[in-house]
Subunit: 219 residues, 2 copies
DNA sequence: AATATTATTTAGACAAATCTAAATCATAAA
DNA sequence: TTTATGATTTAGATTTGTCTAAATAATATT
C-alpha cells in the first residue's frame, strides 16, 4: 500500500477523530484538516477504493482494520520523532508537533524501529500520549483525570489534551510540563479556577479552561 | 520562497551536475532525476520564473545565486541526516542516502542547526562529502586523489565518488569504509587492478573501476 | 406534514507534476 | 552547404489534490 502524504494525513486525522469507533463526519474532518468538505468527500472515495475506510454516502466513515493499522504506524512515527526532538535536540514540547507532522511521513520501518530503540523504546510522547509499538499495540493509558476533576492533593502531570501552541506556551511560561508535580491548594467555586503550587515556587491560579486540558494522576 | 519537494530535488540535482559552473543540459538532468526531458523543460520554466536558475531555450541552465544558496541548504540537511543515521542509529553508509533523500525536505533552520550541534557540527558526511555550514560555506575539501592515481604507500579513505548501492555494498563486504587505512601493495599494469591490504587482514585485489571511485589521501 | 436549515455530495474548474508523440532547433558529417 | 542525427521544446493528456458554486439529502422546526 503506497500512500501519499495527503492520504496519510487524512488517515491519521480520521483515527484521531474516531476515538474508539465513533463515526467521523465530513465536516468534522474538513475542519480538522483545515480543508473543505468537498475535498473530504473526494478523498473519502479514494480511501474507500483502497479499502482503508468504510464509507457510504451521507453516512460518515470509520477506518477499516487495515486503515487502523496504518494510522497506528503514522502515529508511532509522529510520537517517536516528538520524543527525539525533545529528548535529544532539546526542543520544548510546544514546538515539536509541527515538525513531527512532516517527519512522520518518512516511511521506513527500519528507521522507525532504530529510532525507537535509540530513544529507549519510550511508551509516551512529550505530551503524554502513548506510542504504539512496532505491532501497533498501545500501552494502556495510565489512570488519569483532568486537573479540574482531581480529588488528590498532590498530583503529577501526565498529559495535555489540547495541544494548541497557545496552551503549550502558557504552560511553558508557568513551568508546567510533563511529570511536573502539582499541589492543589484551592478550588474556587465562583469560576472553577484552581490555585496550584509547584514546589519551591509561589502558587498560581489557573482558569477552568486550562485545568480541563491538563491530565494528572495522584502522587 | 516556498518550494515543493519536486522543486527542491531539481535544485539539488542541478547543483550536483553543475560542479563549479558548467552548464547543465536537459537530458543530463532528466537522466539524473530518472524523469523525461519534457518534464525537465517544464520545470525549467517554473524555476526560471522563480529566479532560481538562469535559463534560455536550448542553452542549458545554471543555478542563480539564490538557487545556489537554496541548494546548499538542501545539501546541508541531506548530509547532516546521513551523519545522524550512521553515527546515532548505526545504519551502514550505503543505506542512508535513500532515507536522507526524504528527510532533507523537512525545512526548518532551527531543526537543522540543532541537529548539526547534536552531531558535533560535523564537517564531512559518511561518504566523505563536505557539509555546508549554516551560512552555506563548504569546508575546503582535503587534498585527495582517487586510489588508482595514488602515489603514497599508505593512504586513508576520504570519500567515495560513486554512491550506488552496489559499490557501497561491495566496499562494506570488504570492510572498506571512511577513514579506513589502506596499504597499496601492488599495482598490476595488465588490467590496472590494485592489491591493497587493510591491517590485520589478508590483502585483496580490486578492479580499476572500484579504485577510480575510492578517494584517498596520504598517511 | 410541510418547510427551513444544515450537512454532504456533485459538477466543473484549476495548479502541479508528470508523460507521450510530434515539432523544432543545433550541430556533426558528408 | 546540405543533410542527418540528436537534443530540446511544444502540444495535448493524465493524475492528484484542491477549490467554488450548485444540487441534493438528512434533520430540525413549526
Ligand atoms: Mn503530517
Ligand atoms: Mn504528541
Ligand atoms: Mn530528496
Ligand atoms: Mn552523502
Amino acid at each position: 500500500m503506497n500512500l501519499s502524504i495527503a492520504e496519510e494525513n487524512y488517515i491519521k486525522s480520521i483515527y484521531k477523530l474516531q476515538e474508539g469507533d465513533t463515526v467521523v463526519t465530513t465536516n468534522a474532518l474538513a475542519y480538522e484538516l483545515e480543508t473543505k468538505p468537498a475535498s473530504v468527500t473526494d478523498m473519502a472515495k479514494k480511501l474507500k477504493d483502497k479499502k482503508l475506510i468504510d464509507y457510504e454516502k451521507y453516512k460518515g466513515f470509520t477506518l477499516s482494520a487495515e486503515g487502523k493499522k496504518i494510522a497506528l504506524q503514522i502515529v508511532r512515527r509522529h510520537r517517536l520523532w516528538e520524543c527525539f526532538l525533545v529528548d535529544k535536540l532539546h526542543f520544548s514540547w510546544e514546538e515539536v508537533h509541527e515538525l513531527a507532522e512532516e517527519l512522520e511521513h518518512v516511511r521506513s520501518e527500519k528507521l522507525t524501529n532504530r529510532l525507537s530503540e535509540y530513544l529507549g523504546n519510550p511508551l509516551f510522547d512529550p505530551h503524554g500520549d502513548p506510542i504504539p509499538d512496532a505491532n501497533g499495540k498501545l500501552t494502556k493509558p495510565r489512570p488519569q483525570t483532568s486537573l479540574d476533576q482531581a480529588t488528590a492533593k498532590r498530583v503529577v502531570v501526565t498529559a495535555v489534551t489540547d495541544q494548541s501552541t497557545a496552551l503549550l506556551a502558557f504552560l511553558n511560561a508557568k513551568h508546567i510540563k510533563l511529570s511536573t508535580q502539582l499541589e492543589i491548594v484551592e478550588h474556587y467555586e465562583y469560576d472553577n479556577s484552581i490555585e496550584i503550587k509547584i514546589k519551591q515556587q509561589p502558587s498560581i491560579t489557573i482558569s477552568e479552561q486550562v485545568a480541563k486540558n491538563i491530565m494528572v494522576r495522584p502522587v
